[in-house]
Symmetry: C2
Subunit: 201 residues, 2 copies
DNA sequence: AACTATTTATCACAGGTGTGATAGTTTGGA
DNA sequence: TCCAAACTATCACACCTGTGATAAATAGTT
């Protein structure tokens, strides 16, 4: 049986093209023909590796979620245990910035994620992954804040998650079009407020 | 000249239908034919009052921005001057909740606004209005926080704007699917943190 | 070399889109 | 009454979409 190319590799190639289209045009711009063009494949090939449009979207969402999960796992909260002062602030900021649009690759991934989140409002295909991504992020944030002895971890984590979402939205859209520097400054101010409640007692 | 019906009224009727479609299906769901059906008019009539699809979207964006502006103006920041403690907290929360999805009409409007913001990333039609809405909100927030003697008004307003955006996103989407109560609690916690820096000095 | 499963490539069809063009209908004023 | 302006209603066209179906080319195995 001819398998000159790894099917999984081809699928990734297609998903990558889909991501580029999401960044350029939004999720509605992801059509089979455009994905085929963008990936340099024929639409017939795309349809051979994915069981139609719906399946492609599902796979792309899965991959987006997996990447965000990997980013969170990489900057694990373990190293935060017991840190205080500026060291704690720096470490926490580094963790949060792992999922924020601070450079081009992270910006592209953030765009894909936010597009997916918005789309999950009306497209059932994305509901589960959208919810899972929020849960993953919340878990990491709670763990991190807990390690830093921040009180009221649940509430603080929810606040931080909101700040992350809002800053991301205003950075990747013309709404407020935050610069990366400004975004990081606002984030830092918020983290400082959160840690201020931990530092003294 | 027959003008049995106020043209402006008809336009509002059409825009209202467009808003319902945005809520139900997202901005991509706003097609001339669907708007016509939803508004109970013929597509020919819709095209008589709007100079094509682009013009309809422009008018809808304008109306969405105007409504958000009116909501902000209604809960003007004037009344906040000099308030302290729980009274300040309550007043500030009431102002912020004017633009948040705490009930069905505000939820629908918030959905329209967030859809517009996301769409403004790739659709030039929405860029200006998206930016204006952020500026309007930021101005009101700065004014309010200033009246409450919150220090570092610019930074505090930016933080608050981020919280508003993030909470709205997580309330109108399955991402974290916040209940209204939870959203208000998280918002209150954040406002409390901001005001804590003002209360003592 | 022959065979076979994988992969690539096309067609065609039904459905939806914006829009140009064109009739038909209604209604207020002369 | 008649007319013209405003409104409503259709057609048709080109374009794009997902998808079922089918053919063609490829390459590893026997």
């Amino acid at each position: 049986m001819p398998a000159r190319i790894d099917p999984e590799e081809r699928r990734q190639q297609v998903i990558e093209a889909a991501f580029r289209l999401v960044v350029a045009e939004g999720i509605e711009g992801v059509s089979l023909r455009k994905v085929a063009d963008e990936s340099g494949l024929n639409i017939g090939s795309v349809r051979h590796y994915f069981d139609g449009h719906h399946d492609l979207l599902t796979a792309a969402a899965e991959e987006a979620g997996a990447r965000m999960g990997r980013r969170l796992a990489a900057h694990a909260a373990e190293g935060l245990r017991g840190l205080t002062g500026e060291a704690a602030l720096d470490a926490l900021q580094a963790l949060v910035e792992a999922v924020m649009p601070v450079d081009e690759p992270r910006r592209d991934e953030a765009i894909v994620v936010v597009e997916l989140i918005m789309a999950s409002r009306t497209m059932p295909v994305f509901r589960a992954m959208s919810a899972r991504m929020a849960a993953d992020l919340a878990a990491v944030l709670r763990e991190a804040l807990d390690f830093l002895d921040v009180p009221d971890v649940d509430l603080a984590a929810a606040q931080l998650a909101a700040v992350i979402g809002g800053l991301t939205l205003d950075t990747v859209t013309p709404h407020g079009d935050l610069s990366v520097e400004r975004m990081r400054a606002v984030l830092r101010a918020h983290l400082r407020m959160l840690l201020a409640k931990a530092c003294p007692g």
